[in-house]
Amino acid sequence: MNYLIIEGYKDAAEKFSEESGLHTSVDLGSIEERMKIRYAVQTGDIKAAIERVNDLNPDLLDTDPRLYFHLQQQHLIELIRMGKAEEALEFAQEELAPHGEEHPELLRELEKTMALLAFDVSGSGSPLCDLLDFSHRQKTANELNAALLAAHSQPKEPKLPALLQLLAWTQEQLDEKAQYPRINNIVSAVLTDPSAPSSQPENTSA
């Protein structure tokens, strides 16, 4: 349930709650709002994302200047991606530069983003192509999602991936030192008999 809520699978969370009888204190409606915000960032509609965030929690972007800057930076990237160089310059001058002046630690990132204007964004040869990659949108979306979760007293990350990573690491350590009832298949999670003939362990990494 923790994983479904944090990762924003509202329908699955509702179904799981119904079938398993597990109740959650989390307002499932807020998951939907959070996912809409995430989707807006992932599709490059930063303005819509900001408006939704301000409706959900008007304090968030006022109290987290780094997050606000990253959203504005993403908007600048989208403008550059669309070839709206003039609009991008105007936006950087009006919105990002004053913010950078107030928070000089962000200026380096702004400078790097502005450098995008010097390269052909359609080609893959740009040394700054990571900014234009989908993964950058994803990074911004994740940062925003974590901030929204933290602001609503929710853990920033689901417990499940961390637990699986811990399981994999622990088994790896134990493999070198002892024989023990190992979980070879994390889907079935069956403990194997250590006295049984050994077989090649399946990949257990999360």
Binding site: V26, N54, D59, P65, S153
Partner: protein
């Protein structure tokens, strides 16, 4: 006006529209424009957004949807880094606080309640927001509404996230209200302590709610012994136990606020200092190492204030190295093309103040600070462009050079003198005052820097500062003069006395003179006449013997109340120094009835240092011998007539007399041999016959 400004001014204009949809649309746009952007906040403030939005919030006809948007704008404007305080004051003066409190009412829309709480939190961040007039009208209602929200928290089960946020915001408001002792009592009297304790001890409270609760408790208990005692006594110390448990929590913010509460309870002696030392001090030192911001640094400084034991624990927990590392980090923050000078200065200032506090009374801590390289940072900071950093560095240096060993060895090699002397001419009076205070220790007789300072022209500067407009500057300059005069060679003594002016010192010594200067003026006179016949002659020559004796009589006739005690002690030693060194002036003193009666009366003082000083006077006066063959005490008969022998006898019979006072009484006894032979009362009669 630019096109952009015209567009924004149109939105503000639309707020006066009769069409509710237009108003809502404009509010939403403005809200999205101002959130996150200080520039836009300032722009809209200039476009008169405050009166427009205040009018909407105070009008009954405004829809809930528009109110939610307007309330969010209020919160955002109050959060402006540059103009937030001004905006908050303007909003408060237009009745916005009352309107927001009204929106918290029980049957209000939940979104509106949450938005109002957020806005109130932002407004109350500026202490002056609730000015007396506004406070009187809204404080009671605000606390009542906020408590009602806190009471909705069911601590037995999980809270829904929006309920959680509302309770968290309500708790934060409680903390924000506690900006003065009167406000702390007002809030505490509403029963809020029980509500906060219930939240703190709730088994399922989320860390954000616990953090908010600790922040509120920290504000409520800050420097308030009564509230700390009440918190310390809850359920047999369960609050203190919970606070110390949370001081070990994983979340850094939670740890920080737990440590703040622990520091308050410890400073007010509401919990065992040992428990706090073992948990909160290491936790704070860890936060100083790991966390950003200055809150942990300030909390550590506060906890260590004037407490040698806590300072020792802080040192062994690595506080000094951590604070010096913060200084290094502060310089790095300032430097480079992307440096942040404002943040760097803030961090440096906090680190210097905390370091100063940690070394203020503990000698080992001072040595550790010097070993960690504190002097290099201090010298660098003395030339900093931020006055706050310069003053903080001076303060830190002042506490470090309280160590005689450091004054003798490390200070002369540190290069601190030259920049410190230049700060006596600083444009900022706080810097001047702290620089002069630091010099006070460096000018003592054991400091090699005294001679260097005088060679570098210190004296004319100090004389100039004696006329400074700021009282702390004048006081510290005179204090420095007083210390320069301790055990100084005769030539320099004359130079200093003529430079400062004996008449000036006499005027400042008169009862009723500038209270900031009085003690140090008398102290300076005491040092001028110490072991110097020239000094005594100069003192009495200025106004003539009778007037000077009258002044001395006035000075020693003061009470030994705490406020006058230092002046009285200096005055008694001034009399003693004159009496010990000059036969002629001693005769004058012995013949001055008012002066002698006052001195004799202080020999029975319950304050040891006063009694000892008075007994020294008796000793010095009695030590002058007749010039005949008997070599008997010249003034002992006069002292007997004043009942000195009887007093000394009584003091010797007092089994509870402090040992240092008894020693002094016994040294006086040599001049009154009859004391050892019989009881005090008999001696009195003999004295009186004589």
């Amino acid at each position: 006006m630019s096109t952009i400004s015209v567009t924004h001014s149109n939105y503000v204009r639309l707020l006066g529209s009769s069409d509710p949809d237009e108003v809502y649309g404009a509010l939403r746009t403005i809200k999205n424009n101002v959130i996150g952007s200080s520039t836009k906040k300032t722009l809209y403030i200039d476009l008169q957004i405050i009166p427009a939005v205040s009018a909407l919030l105070t009008a009954h006809s405004t829809s809930v949807a528009s109110r939610v948007q307007a309330t969010a704008i209020v919160g955002s404007l109050a959060r402006s880094r540059d103009s937030g305080a001004k905006a908050a004051a303007a909003l408060a003066s237009q009745g916005v606080v009352g309107a927001l409190v009204g929106q918290l009412a029980e049957n209000s829309d939940e979104r509106l309640v949450e938005a109002s709480e957020r806005a109130l939190n932002a407004l109350l961040e500026h202490g002056e927001t609730l000015s007396a007039a506004v406070a009187a009208a809204t404080e009671g209602a605000l606390v009542e509404q906020v408590l009602a929200i806190i009471d909705t928290a069911d601590t037995e089960t999980d809270l829904g996230i929006h309920s959680h946020a509302r309770v968290e915001l309500a708790v934060l408001i409680i903390g924000r209200l506690c900006v003065s002792e009167a406000r702390q009592y007002m809030v505490a009297n509403t029963g809020v302590i029980d509500a906060l304790v219930r939240l703190l001890l709730a088994p399922k409270a989320h860390f954000r709610l616990q953090t908010a609760t600790l922040r509120a408790l920290a504000a409520l208990s800050y420097e308030n012994a009564e509230i700390c005692a009440a918190l310390g006594a809850v359920q047999g110390g369960s609050v203190a136990a919970a606070v110390l448990r949370l001081a070990r929590a994983t979340d850094a913010t939670l740890r920080l606020h737990a440590c703040e509460v622990a520091a308050n309870l410890c400073r007010m002696r509401a919990v065992s200092s040992r428990d706090v030392q073992s948990v909160a001090v290491p936790a704070l030192v860890r936060l100083v190492r790991e966390a950003d911001g200055v809150a942990a640094v300030q909390a550590l400084g506060y906890l260590c204030h004037e407490d040698t034991d806590v300072q020792a624990v802080a040192r062994s927990s690595g506080a000094i190295d951590a604070l010096v590392a913060r200084l290094k980090a502060a310089w790095s923050t300032e430097e480079g093309d992307f440096g942040d000078p404002v943040r760097g200065a803030r961090e440096a200032k906090a680190a210097f103040l905390a370091l100063g506090t940690v070394v203020s009374t503990n000698e080992e801590c001072r040595r550790a600070a010097v070993d960690a390289g504190a002097f290099a940072h201090i010298v660098r900071a003395l030339g900093h462009k931020d006055a706050g950093v310069r003053a903080a560095a001076c303060l830190c240096a002042r506490y470090i050079v309280r160590s005689v060993a450091i004054c003798r060895t490390h200070a002369p090699e540190s290069g601190i003198l030259k920049p410190l002397l230049s700060l006596l001419h600083d444009s900022n009076s706080d810097v001047q005052a702290t620089a002069a205070a630091t010099l006070v220790n460096l000018l003592s007789d054991f400091s090699p820097l005294r001679v260097d300072a005088l060679k570098q022209g210190l004296l004319p500067t100090l004389v100039q500062l004696l006329e400074a407009p700021a009282a702390p500057v004048r006081r510290n300059a005179l204090w420095a003069v007083r210390n320069v005069l301790i055990k100084i060679d005769e030539d320099t003594r004359r130079e200093v006395v003529e430079g400062v002016g004996i008449e000036r010192l006499l005027s400042l010594s008169e009862p009723g003179a500038d209270p900031a200067m009085h003690e140090h003026a008398v102290g300076a006179l005491r040092n001028i006449v110490a072991e110097s016949t020239w000094g005594i002659d100069r003192l009495f020559a200025a106004r003539g013997v009778p007037r000077t004796l009258d002044l001395l009589a006035q000075l020693v006739s003061q009470s030994s109340a705490q406020s006058d005690r230092s002046v009285l002690v200096h005055s008694l030693y001034l009399v003693n120094n004159v009496a010990a060194r000059s036969d002629a002036r001693c005769c004058d003193i012995a013949g001055h009835q008012q002066l002698m009666k006052a001195v004799v009366s202080h020999t029975s003082s319950s304050v040891s240092e006063v009694a000892i000083a008075a007994l020294w006077c008796i000793n010095s006066i009695a030590s002058h011998q007749r010039e005949d063959d008997s070599r008997a005490s010249l003034h002992a008969p006069a002292l007997r007539r004043l009942g000195v022998a009887r007093i000394l006898s009584r003091l010797l019979r007092n089994q509870g007399l402090p040992l240092d006072v008894r020693d002094r009484v016994m040294s006086c006894q040599d001049y009154f041999p009859e004391i050892g032979r019989g009881s005090g009362e008999d001696d009195v009669e003999i004295d009186e016959e004589l």
